[in-house]
Amino acid sequence: MSEAIISEIKLANAAELDLFLSEESQQRIMSADERDTLQEMMNIAFGRAAASLAEVISIFVSLSVPCVQLLKGEKLTVYLEQMVGPGPEISIVEERFYGKMEGSAFLVFPADAGGQLVPLFGDEETLYEGEAREEVERDALLTTGGILIGACVGKLAELLGDQVSYSPAKLVAKTQGKAIPAALCNPDAVAIVLKTDFSFREESVQGFLFLVTSQESIGWLKEALAGFLSQYEG
């Protein structure tokens, strides 16, 4: 699941599938400047997240420059399917977050990533001794997913001046439609999709992370963005 393949699918089909809001509608919700600022803040936040993960818990992960898009609520499922593509099987980890900014974080991994992440939790042979292979791999994926989401969302919230709490990470199996909470699928809602690609250096596991925040968060988010910008003005 390389970035190039994902982008290609996305670009080829986005217009046809009518995924994104028109530039005019996007402008009404969030100006181009605001979107740029959000993107820049994510970039800073995720950079800090990666640095802290390495420094504090010795997990080395690289995160690509994120992108921000406004999506029709009803198109979220289609968007996800387009992102993942028809290729290899995938596992999706979802964690909801609650604060002034509310929403869901989704991590998309290749289906066999769990097995590759097991060494992060100790000696593989000892962990596999009880023959609980599936549980061990699922929990390795969930725990690592929780760590990555916690670091990225936590740093973004910190930068925006928010404090978030979380619901436990869940493994949402291969059905993309089920990955999206019903409330966010509200056809009238607008979803802000913040997407980044990540790769674990040691375990050569790659995938992507995206955050979906609901329209209700947008008002607050715009204020926070203005606050952030005002630090550099005058």
Partner: protein, 301 residues
């Protein structure tokens, strides 16, 4: 802590611990006191690692720092950690776990100014669940007659092992094993004697393998042994040990004493192999062993 929340924390069937950022105990609920045998008054104010030095692992610290640094929750699932606090199992011994199996979580606790000042740890006893899951797993992956792993298990495990060994560039070998003239045993002494031979041979093989090896009943009187981290030469040494130990085995079936031999084929994973081609090569070795007189080991390189 006062009032209703304090009462609740003392009553719930859940261990609740609060640590400060230096990992000193600030709160230790009644559940923790009961299972640890350490009273709240005795442990409060002391560093948790003084009472539980083995908690001071990279895995625990990773979760704890996730909560303290990033303000996000962390989970310590039973499958990966077994437990955080080594408590005795409640009730009669279960034959599987000496220590309570735990599902633990950690979460940040914030001060009024928003700073993270404390770490909350919860401990849930999941021993019963872990035992029934383990029993179900065993039923699902073992052959009932011999106690060896079943074919379904091999179909899952071998591809995984091949991938893992290939990724880490380690040696992986397999041995295919077949009991010589088994049909004769069945015909001459009956199926009951045949079953006895199968289970005793399997028992002998399982007693010979290392803990990390995996013996599978491949079908009928055929077995397969997966040997992780093992090059061909060592696999051949083990195969020959299999052969001699079965040769020496006296199997009591009614009033008679039966003796059987086994033929074995050995192969090592090559970079271009799939699990199927690896098994096929070991099977060819087994075929050659049968053709050249049985009761022998033949390696296919």
């Amino acid at each position: 802590m006062e009032g209703l929340p304090a009462q609740i924390l003392e009553i719930v069937d859940l261990g609740v611990v609060v640590l400060d950022t230096e990992f000193r105990v600030c709160y230790w609920n009644r559940w923790m006191a009961f299972h640890s045998g350490i009273a709240a008054e005795a442990i409060t104010g002391t560093p948790i690692f003084e009472s539980y030095p083995k908690l001071n692992t990279p895995e625990f610290l990773r979760g704890a720092r996730m909560s303290l640094t990033f303000g996000s929750p962390a989970v310590f699932p039973q499958s990966l950690h077994h437990y955080l606090f080594p408590f005795k199992v409640v009730g009669t011994p279960n034959g599987m776990f000496d220590l309570m199996q735990q599902h633990c979580t950690s979460a940040p606790l914030r001060e009024p100014d928003g700073e993270i000042g404390h770490l909350l740890i919860t401990v849930q006893d999941v021993t019963e669940r872990a035992i029934s899951q383990q029993r179900l797993r065993e039923l699902n992956i073992r052959d009932q007659l011999t106690g060896a792993y079943n074919r379904r298990y091999l179909d899952h495990r071998l591809p995984d092992e091949c991938k893992r060994h290939d990724r880490h560039h380690r040696s992986l070998s397999v041995i295919m094993i077949d009991i010589d003239f088994f049909k004769k045993v069945n015909d001459q002494h009956g199926h009951e004697a045949g079953d006895k031979v199968l289970s005793q041979v399997a028992g002998k093989l399982m007693a010979t393998v290392r803990k990390t090896d995996c013996l599978v009943r491949y079908g009928g009187e055929e077995f397969c042994c997966i040997l992780p981290e093992t090059p061909l030469e060592n696999a051949c040494v083990l195969a020959d040990r299999f052969r001699t130990s079965v040769e020496r085995l006296a199997i009591a079936a009614g009033s008679t004493e039966l003796r059987v031999t086994i033929s074995l084929g050995v192969a090592q994973l090559r970079p271009e192999d799939t699990h199927a081609t690896l098994l096929k090569r070991a099977d060819e070795g087994l075929y050659d062993a049968k053709q050249s007189g049985r009761n022998r080991v033949i390696a296919r390189t």
